[in-house]
């Protein structure tokens, strides 16, 4: 991993009226890093992620994503990132190929490039025979692998993944993480949230949010050592159990 910083946040804060959803969080994420963004329900993860994706203005603090300012350059941010979640991924009523073409087009990939990369992608995911199937007819695991590939189709600098593997079977969940590793190896930074604690172990570094603040941030190995824990589940439990706002 090199030292190029692609996400930079300093005292980033978001208030909704009297409620401080995100409370002065600071961190940096490097090129190709797999960064796990963990926290209890209601800890402020989604709000923080929305600010970094250029979807919500911070109340105070600074942040830049792919070199662009989160206050002034939200449109440039959107062009340089990819995003997927369990809830929103692909259009169910479009075929696999139509979805790829649609997203490629939206992100300004040239038609010739779309054509070439589509073939590579179908081959890689081993879904050449299903290319004309509606996405709605695919099993969830396939959908999520495809959604991830579509999210990085325009070769963004960073991809944000919001609980991408919720409900996915254990084998497909692992295939999904192989895609994440591969993206990281290609230099795409992966910013991922998950409730599966074994997946937390797959990240290069973890941050854990409690009550709007970052309660801990380190490699999984160091966090386990600091909390004398056998696994990340125990670390999570030790840090988040004391959360005041459980929601």
């Amino acid at each position: 991993m090199n030292n190029n910083i692609v996400i930079h946040a300093h005292d980033l804060t978001k208030k909704f009226g009297n409620f401080t959803a995100v409370d002065h969080i600071s961190f940096e994420v490097g090129t190709g890093e797999i960064f796990g963004f963990l926290g209890a329900n209601g800890a402020g993860k989604t709000t923080a992620m929305r600010m970094l994706c250029g979807l919500s203005h911070p109340t105070s603090g600074e942040a830049s994503v792919a070199g662009y300012n989160v206050y002034k350059q939200q449109e440039q941010i959107k062009k340089n990132i990819g995003y997927m979640s369990q809830k929103f991924s692909l259009y169910e009523d479009l075929t696999i190929v139509e979805n790829i073409q649609f997203y490629g087009g939206i992100y300004g990939v040239k038609p010739k490039e779309i054509k070439e990369r589509t073939q590579i992608l179908l081959k890689k995911l081993n879904i050449e025979n299903q290319a004309k199937s509606l996405v709605g007819s695919l099993p969830l695991g396939w959908k999520q692998k495809l959604a991830f590939s579509v999210a990085i189709f325009h070769e963004p600098k960073i991809v944000f993944l919001d609980e991408p593997t919720s409900g996915v079977d254990p084998i497909t969940r692992r295939q999904f993480w192989e895609l994440i590793y591969e993206a990281g190896n290609q230099g795409i930074t992966v910013f991922v949230t998950t409730h599966y604690m074994d997946e937390a172990e797959y990240c290069n570094r973890i941050s854990l949010m409690v009550d709007g603040k970052i309660a801990a941030m380190d490699t999984p190995a160091n966090l386990k050592q600091q909390h004398s824990a056998d696994n990340m589940g125990d670390v999570f439990y030790a840090l988040a159990r004391g959360a005041k706002r459980s929601e």
Partner: protein, 302 residues
């Protein structure tokens, strides 16, 4: 008599085009906490909808508390509590109003059965004037559980109560279910999280509409008859790739900070193979299988 009896149930959708359940049979005893463990699309929700009399099977039969799910649906509906996987409370009613509504519907009051929901309700009570539609995922689940419990059902059906809930709340929820068991309530709960299987008395592992295995969590992991190794290395991605290339690998997959490997022959041979591939910092140890290892082994088709 078993509290839940399911025999050779088949169910398909879209005029037989989509098979949801294939010859599913299982029994749940009184006061048992029984888990349906499997990924999305395995057929878990179909089982719940059949047993709560919201669907009719294509073939086979099932009984809840001795009542037939097709003929005796009215009796069943009065005696069970159901928390669907999809949030199904009234979004425009507050927490308090939703709970009152469900209590009234079943001819009871919140006060009468408050002891059953106390632990959970106290956590959401500070927000009782908030509309259900404005609650976060975890709070919605807690409210839904309260509403399913308020008429003191004899059987509780919980469809993925922990999905989308953080690990701390998940632990708390399973603690609560253990407590409800002591009240004599029979519980059928589903989850996609394999590690939650150990919180159940017995589980059924389910994949693509078929039950792979039914037993206690200990017996299921005890049936895993291959030697399992946990391997760690400096570069996990490189390690996983190398393990796949090794000719004697039966199966290998990531498992937290380790990779789990089932290998033919001496593990020392694997170690030297990995070293030749340039993998550094190799650490190999024996490990015991978990429910997730068993699930992978049983659903793995090379």
């Amino acid at each position: 008599m078993n509290t839940i009896e399911v025999k050779d149930i088949n169910k398909s959708y879209e005029k037989g085009k989509v098979t949801a359940l294939k010859n599913v049979s299982f029994n749940v005893g009184k006061g048992e906490l029984f888990g349906l463990i499997g990924p999305d699309g395995a057929g878990k929700t179909t089982i719940f909808r059949l047993l709560t009399t919201l669907l009719i099977p294509d073939s086979g039969e099932a009984k809840v508390l001795g009542y037939d799910i097709v003929k005796d649906y009215k009796q069943i509906r009065n005696l069970v509590g159901y928390m669907p996987g999809k949030f199904s409370l009234y979004a425009d009613l507050t927490i308090e109003e939703n709970l009152n509504f469900f209590a009234t519907l079943f001819g009871t009051t919140i006060e009468e059965n408050y002891h059953l929901i106390k632990d959970i309700y106290e956590q959401i009570a500070p927000f009782k004037k908030r509309r259900a539609g404005k609650l976060s995922g975890g709070m919605k689940q807690k409210l839904a559980l309260c509403c399913a419990l308020i008429h003191k059902p004899e059987v509780l059906f919980l469809d993925e109560p922990t999905t989308g809930i953080d690990p701390v709340s998940r632990v708390e929820l399973w603690d609560m279910l253990q407590k409800l068991k002591t009240e004599g309530i029979t519980i059928l709960a589903s989850t996609p999280y394999m590690d939650e299987a150990v919180r159940c008395d017995r589980v059924a592992l389910i994949q693509e509409g078929e039950i792979l295995n039914i037993d206690t969590p200990d017996n299921i992991t005890g049936q895993f008859n291959k030697k399992l190794y946990a391997i760690k290395a400096g570069n996990m991605y490189a390690l996983l790739k190398a393990l796949k290339q090794y000719p004697e690998t039966d199966n290998s997959y990531a498992f937290g900070e380790y990779a789990h490997v089932i290998v033919n022959g001496d593990v020392e041979n694997l170690k030297s193979f990995l070293e030749k591939q340039g993998i550094s910092g190799i650490e190999v140890r024996n490990t015991l299988p978990t429910i997730e290892d068993t699930f992978i082994a049983e659903s793995y088709k090379p």
